[in-house]
Symmetry: C2
Subunit: 206 residues, 2 copies
Amino acid sequence: MSTRREQILAAAAELFARHGFHGVGIDEIGAAVGVSGPALYRHFRSKDAMLGEMLTSISESLLAGGQERRDTNEPAQVLGELIRFQVDFALDNPALITVQERNLGNLTEPDRRRVRALQRRYVEVWVQAIRETAPALDEPTARAAAHAVFGLINSTPHSRHLGRDGMATMLREMAVGALTRVCADGRPSGDLQTSSREFRIAGTSG
Amino acid sequence: MSTRREQILAAAAELFARHGFHGVGIDEIGAAVGVSGPALYRHFRSKDAMLGEMLTSISESLLAGGQERRDTNEPAQVLGELIRFQVDFALDNPALITVQERNLGNLTEPDRRRVRALQRRYVEVWVQAIRETAPALDEPTARAAAHAVFGLINSTPHSRHLGRDGMATMLREMAVGALTRVCADGRPSGDLQTSSREFRIAGTSG
DNA sequence: CGGCCGCGTTAGCGCTGGCTAACAGCAGGC
DNA sequence: GCCTGCTGTTAGCCAGCGCTAACGCGGCCG
């Protein structure tokens, strides 16, 4: 509602991403939105509450977006749409992504429980989609692969060299490539060539 | 040399990884190695110095390892060996990887400069290897791809479900797949099929 | 044996930082 | 036209934390 809360959360996210939760003071957050110091307590009960609300709202957005992609696409398209969704989210909200990755450990215990539950459900959407595409994959592997792809996509804040769209297509491509490769796995790991390409990456066997 | 310093650094890395640099007190670090509180100042000049030494030593190890792989392998094998090296390092030193990812911003300015210089050189080794494999790739893209693969490989600490070796092979596979895909890029992004596989991930075009 | 030195202890200082208290301007509603 | 409530201010409390000081103890060397 009140634009003020969101404004504060956005500024706080930026700061938390750069300096870490404990590396940012109340006064700095206030200064970032033009008010100074304890004015923030008119909008949040505590600094912990800011982080809590920030992370739960991110997690809810991701889960909602994931479920929506799952429910409004043909099964064969879901994984691709999830990739696109996550890439767009990461590119458009680098600070939020960074905070979610780094500052889970700074949450209050009940908040952490809530956030982890939401994240788990989001991962489950991915796991379903992955196994829909590659039913041979066992669930733990699919889950680990999902986490790895998150790492890939969320690496965005650390490399801003390409333009937004160039970055987006590259990340989508890489995500697809990574998932394709792991989905094709299960064979004895031996000759891993890229087949039908004019180059190959050698030496990954054993 | 003195095993004590390394022991302290290891404990501190674990704690920094979990709670963030500012989220950990001197007393906790001391407690983690069995001494209490300011005894650490017999070994380090400050808490900042601990983080500084930790991160520079990680960066030096990575750079040295990367250079060694580059210099002792045929060009066609270098990229694969770099992947293997990074995967092994991440799996064997999850705390260090986490700290390096998250706590660069908490370094002293001179320390940060040193670390960033080392990291840049390490990335350059990767960029060279990538472009050796796929000369058509421009340098910024190769750099961004390298960062993305780091994100993928370093996601390790967030998913411990598979065993070490299973995780290692999966991460290598995914890294290869991601790089293969991006290296093959440059064509108009349109039909992205996985070709000659029995499945495909659809919907990533545009 | 005696003095030095590496490594540890506890007490305590100074500052920072989260949070509260007390007060103020400024809407809108009766 | 006052009262209420929302939003902001400044002053200040109190805990925690980085770091220093002062001291103790055991081992090595002459």
